[in-house]
Amino acid sequence: MMDELELLKKDWQKQEQGLPKLSYDQIYKMIWKKSSSLVKWIFYISIVEFLFWITISFIPLGNKGVDLPEANFILIINRVLTITQFVIIIYFMFQFYQNYKKISVTDSARDLMKKIIATRKTVMRYVWFNLGLFAVTMIIVFTEVLVLNPPPELAERIANSDSSLLVWLALGVGLLAAIMFFGLLIWLFFCLLYGLLLKRLTLNYKELKRLEV
C-alpha cells in the first residue's frame, strides 16, 4: 500500500504533460469574471436578512384610535423597542462587517472556515434577536388590541361569558401558538437555506477540529 502511494507520487510529476494548458489571454479574461464563491452568497443572503427585518420593523402595528391613559404606556414601550432595535441592528451590521472583512482566502483552511462560521453566527444571532423581538411585539399588540381597545363584539363576549378566564386562556394559547408557528417557519427557512450552503463546510471544519483533540 505504502508502495502504491509512493508509486503514485513518483508518477505524479510526469502527469503534467496530460494537463490542459490555458493561454495568457484565456487566463487574462478569467480575472475579470465575477466570483460565485460561498462567501459571496453568504454575504448577499445576510444583506437580504438585514433588509427583511428592517422592513418588518417598519410595518405599522395598530395603535390608532387608542386614547386611554394606559395607551401612553404602550406607546412608550413601542418607541423604546424601536430605538433599541435600531441600535442593535447597527451593532449587528458592524459586527457582521468586521467578521466579513477578516475572511481571507490566504488563511489556513481551518482559519478560513472558522471565520466564515463566525460571520454566519453573527447573522444567526441577529435572526434570534429578531424572533424574540417579534414575540414581544406580538404580545404588546395583543394586549393593546384586546385589553385596552377591544373590538365591541369580543368585549361583549368576554363580559357575557360564564368563565371569562377560559376565554382569556384560549386567547393566550392562540397567541403563543401564532408566535411559535411564525418562529418555527422562519427558523426552518434559514436552517434549510444555510443547511444547504454550509453543510460541507461544517463537516470539513469538524473534521479538522476533531484532529486537534
Binding site: 500500500m1 505504502m2 502504491e4 502511494l5 508509486l7 503514485l8 507520487k9 508518477d11 505524479w12 510526469k14 502527469q15 503534467e16 496530460g18 494537463l19 490542459p20 494548458k21 490555458l22 493561454s23 495568457y24 487566463i27 487574462y28 478569467m30 480575472i31 469574471k33 465575477k34 466570483s35 460565485s36 464563491s37 460561498l38 462567501v39 452568497w41 481571507s104 482566502v105 490566504t106 488563511d107 489556513s108 483552511a109 481551518r110 482559519d111 478560513l112 472556515m113 466564515i116 450552503l197 460541507r200 463546510l201 470539513n204 473534521e207 479538522l208 484532529l211 486537534e212
Partner: protein
C-alpha cells in the same frame, strides 16, 4: 501600475497553472466543473494578489488559495465520484511507459484518492506534491503531529478502498 500588476499576475499564473489544474481534477468529476473551479480559483488568486508580498514563493502561496477555494469556497458540489465516464484529465498515462499491471495499479490508486473526503484529498495532494509535513500542517491549520497521524489514517483508508 494596475496593468503591470495584471501582467505580472497572469504571467505567473500561466507558468504555474499546472498546480491549479491538478487541484481541479482532484476535486471535480467533469470538464465543466473543472473549468468552473479553475475560474473561481483564478478569481480568488487575483483578488488576493495585491496582498501577496513575495516573501513566499508564488507557487507556495497558490497551494493555499487553490485548496481553500476547492474545499471551502467553491459552491457547486456535484462532485461525488458516481460517474466514471469521465476519464480524469490528469491521469493519462502513456501505455508504453508502464507495463499493464502497473498502469492498472496507478489508475486504481488515483480513483481511490478521488473517493476520499475533501480534507483527506488535500493532504494526499500536498503529499504527492512533495510538500513536507510542516507545510501541509500550516496549509490546513493543524499541527504537524496531527498531519502525520492523519496521513497514516488516510493510507489505511486507501488500503480499505483498494482491498474491500
Amino acid at each position: 501600475m494596475k496593468k503591470e500588476l495584471e501582467h505580472k499576475f497572469v504571467t505567473e499564473l500561466e507558468s504555474n497553472q499546472n498546480i491549479v489544474h491538478k487541484v481541479c481534477s482532484l476535486y471535480t468529476n467533469d470538464r465543466d466543473s473543472h473549468n468552473d473551479l479553475f475560474q473561481e480559483i483564478t478569481i480568488q488568486l487575483w483578488k488576493a494578489y495585491p496582498k501577496f508580498r513575495g516573501d513566499a514563493k508564488f507557487s507556495t502561496w497558490m497551494y493555499r488559495v487553490a485548496l481553500n477555494t476547492a474545499i471551502t469556497l467553491y459552491r457547486k458540489s456535484k462532485r461525488r465520484v458516481q460517474t466514471q465516464d469521465y476519464e480524469s484529465v490528469i491521469f493519462k498515462i502513456k501505455a508504453d511507459e508502464y507495463d499493464d499491471t502497473q498502469e492498472q495499479q496507478l489508475k486504481l490508486m488515483y480513483n481511490a484518492v478521488k473517493q476520499l473526503g475533501d480534507i483527506d484529498k488535500a493532504l494526499v495532494f500536498l503529499y504527492l506534491e512533495d510538500k513536507d509535513y510542516s507545510e501541509i500542517a500550516s496549509t490546513l491549520g493543524i499541527t504537524e503531529v496531527n498531519a502525520r497521524v492523519k496521513m497514516n489514517r488516510i493510507k489505511n483508508k486507501l488500503r480499505t478502498i483498494l482491498n474491500p
